[in-house]
Subunit: 413 residues, 2 copies
């Protein structure tokens, strides 16, 4: 049971947008046992689309196509699919009524001819209603290959996937189980881990695959199992993880199924009835944002202060200027003071702070680019740690965010 994702649109190829749709589709398909074999991103070009459809049909059982369904001239996917299926476009009443309703509710301008054309679909297709937009999804079949076309607008595609595409694929195809378990390690390099676990890795059952995913200072080990019996997969993965813990248990900091570290922190805080606040300098709001992105954050996340300028650490956060003078603004002492002040201001139980220089050049402080201090305040204590990263700004910010979440998680466990 193989799938291919084809994303259509010049904006992806010239790097104007990052293709986040494919990752979403890959993850959702994987959950229901569909193996994504290839992702192909191509231009808004008729011949190129026709070639890609034909090649994909030889490789896989299901082809998911996104993009090129807008109402404007540069959107040619629908006409090209229609040509590929040697079909003609016909007006779909249900879609037309839906478009009229959307215009009535959200759009003040009258509905135009261009908008009405969004209700045209290939005559042999099954229409998949798009709750969030005017372009419908389309389901077509040719010689045992299913082709599904969806708009490229992420929330429209996501709605269609959840409400229409995934349930229909589950109905239509017999699928194996696919299980992943990701083990988070911290403090040991990829190759050092590989050497330590070589023997274990060589003895894994054939239906379990191991991948190393190094990322900003830590290595994740992903076990993927595939088979017909879910129970066997679960048991085997559990057994292998126990064996692995015996070998490198000292560097394993957690597990990740489909859960980010901030979601895990949120769950732990909610369970304990505790709250969190943050005081960020060099990470500039990224830690706060990583929590607030998740619905339900309001039950544990109180807020944060982005004290970017040194003066704002004094005026807004309330750090004692003497501490800054004595130790400099990028120091363990200031990181600790920031965490304590955030805790105090927001009346939270825990607090995270960051201060440092994300690079690439020297800032307010006197430390080298890439030097970052992270402070953690808990109900009973406060501490801070110093990290020296490289001189790549984005990278350093990401690393500092990851490290701070890891440190807090460590305290909560």
């Amino acid at each position: 049971m193989l799938a291919e994702i084809i994303t259509i649109g010049d904006e992806i190829l010239i790097g104007q947008i990052i293709d986040t749709n494919s990752a979403f589709m890959g993850k959702e398909l994987n959950k229901i046992g569909v193996d994504v074999y290839q992702i192909t991103s191509i231009k808004d070009d008729k011949q190129h689309i026709l070639n890609a459809l034909e090649e994909a049909s030889k490789r896989v059982d299901v082809v998911l196509i996104t993009g090129g369904l807008g109402p404007t001239k540069d959107d040619i996917t629908k006409h090209t699919i229609c040509e590929y299926f040697k079909d003609t476009l016909v007006q779909n009443k249900q879609v037309l009524v839906h478009i009229e309703k959307l215009f009535e509710k959200y759009i003040s301008t009258p509905i135009s001819e261009i908008n009405k054309q969004q209700a045209l679909v290939p005559s042999t297709c099954t229409v998949l209603m798009n709750q969030h937009g005017t372009a419908p999804g389309m389901w077509l079949e040719k010689e045992n290959t299913v082709f599904i076309s969806m708009p490229g607008v992420p929330y429209e595609m996501k709605g269609l996937m959840k409400n229409e595409v995934l349930p229909r694929i589950q109905n239509r195809f017999d699928r194996p189980y696919i299980l992943h378990k990701t083990i988070l390690t911290y403090g040991m390099g990829e190759s050092a881990i590989a050497e330590k676990i070589e023997n274990w890795e060589d003895n894994l059952p054939a239906y379990i695959k191991l991948a190393y995913l190094p990322n900003l200072g830590n290595v994740r080990l992903r076990l993927s199992a595939r088979g017909r019996d879910n129970k066997i997969l679960e048991d085997t993965i559990e057994r292998e993880v126990i064996k692995l813990k015996e070998i490198i248990g000292d560097v394993i900091v957690g597990y990740e199924e489909d859960q980010t570290i901030e979601v895990r922190i949120g769950e732990l805080l909610t369970k304990k009835g505790k709250t969190l606040s943050v005081a960020e300098s060099c990470t500039g709001g990224k830690i706060a944002e990583s929590f607030i992105t998740n619905a339900g954050a309001s039950s544990y996340f109180m807020g944060g202060i982005v004290a970017y300028a040194t003066q704002s650490k004094i005026d807004v956060l309330g750090v004692d200027p003497k501490v800054i003078k004595l130790y400099t603004v990028t120091s363990e002492e200031v990181a600790k003071a920031m965490a304590l002040k955030a805790k105090e201001k927001f009346g939270s139980d825990y607090a995270i702070s960051t201060t440092g220089n994300a690079g690439p050049s020297k800032g307010d402080g006197d430390v080298e680019a890439g030097t970052i201090f992270i402070g953690i305040a808990t109900p009973t204590t406060v501490f801070s740690k110093k990290y020296i990263f490289g001189n790549l700004r984005e990278q350093n910010i990401g690393r500092a965010v990851n490290k701070s979440l890891e440190l807090l998680l460590g305290e909560l466990l």
Copy 2:
């Protein structure tokens, strides 16, 4: 002059990571006149890699490959490329010395056999030194197609692209000029714009292509010109934009070359010698973060308060609880008070604030999910605007960030 990007790694196909590398490469290649024809993401599977290389060689002049160069067993790219070129691996002294240096400087553990194997490269390849990691880049040629293999770790790939790959491609190939100009519009739908500019669009020269890029409440129009004479391209684009302004000038809010709206705001603030702070509720630090991501933010960005819980709007930000009681926490008045308080606390000239309910369910306030108020304080005034988005959380947060930046940009222009 066509290129194809092949990214190798199961983690992309199962959606564990989002492929940001391709967007970076696409953008950089485009800048030097290389047209990315296709992006193909495939598994760590020997036959699949061999097929992808062979197919790409028929389509394009340059194939850029990322991923699968790590030191562990799941990384098979190097051996597979070697097989494709019917070559053998030999040890490269320069790479070995580089690996030894990296270990000496950054890694406490002794260098192992696995690490040393990173210095093995196909005998016929040109080695591209990787400043940020142990796996070198490799440049190989076969029947007039160039194959370039790079690690998948983003900052390693970026370093290699900038220092080695792009200069070599510029040397090796004769390329046309490619120019893009993106026009930002606000307040009119995609189809309404299309109808208004239909005649203009139909009369564009053949070497200019128009694309519509709708995104969270605004539509960007991208003009792409390709040709041998840079001057002609520039002049024609300028002329066409003037014509376009005559038709839809009232909804054009700006232009984007390779610049985000926050970079533009930063430049304008720096030029005026003015500063900015933010007070965020539902956007949770995302506005602050969008500024701080850019180096140099410290010259204009003072900081921000993420006042997520209602109580923190009073305790930390200092909003008068009477105002909250009288108008509710999600109201124009509270948005204005938040912006003014941020301006006061941080001593900045401008301030942005957000308060609302990002959804999907009702929060502290009493407004429907998707209702967001944005406040803007300037040196002389303060105002706020109400927006009603949908019920998709991520989407609403993104829209609120975009709108707030647009509103501030409007004030600065």
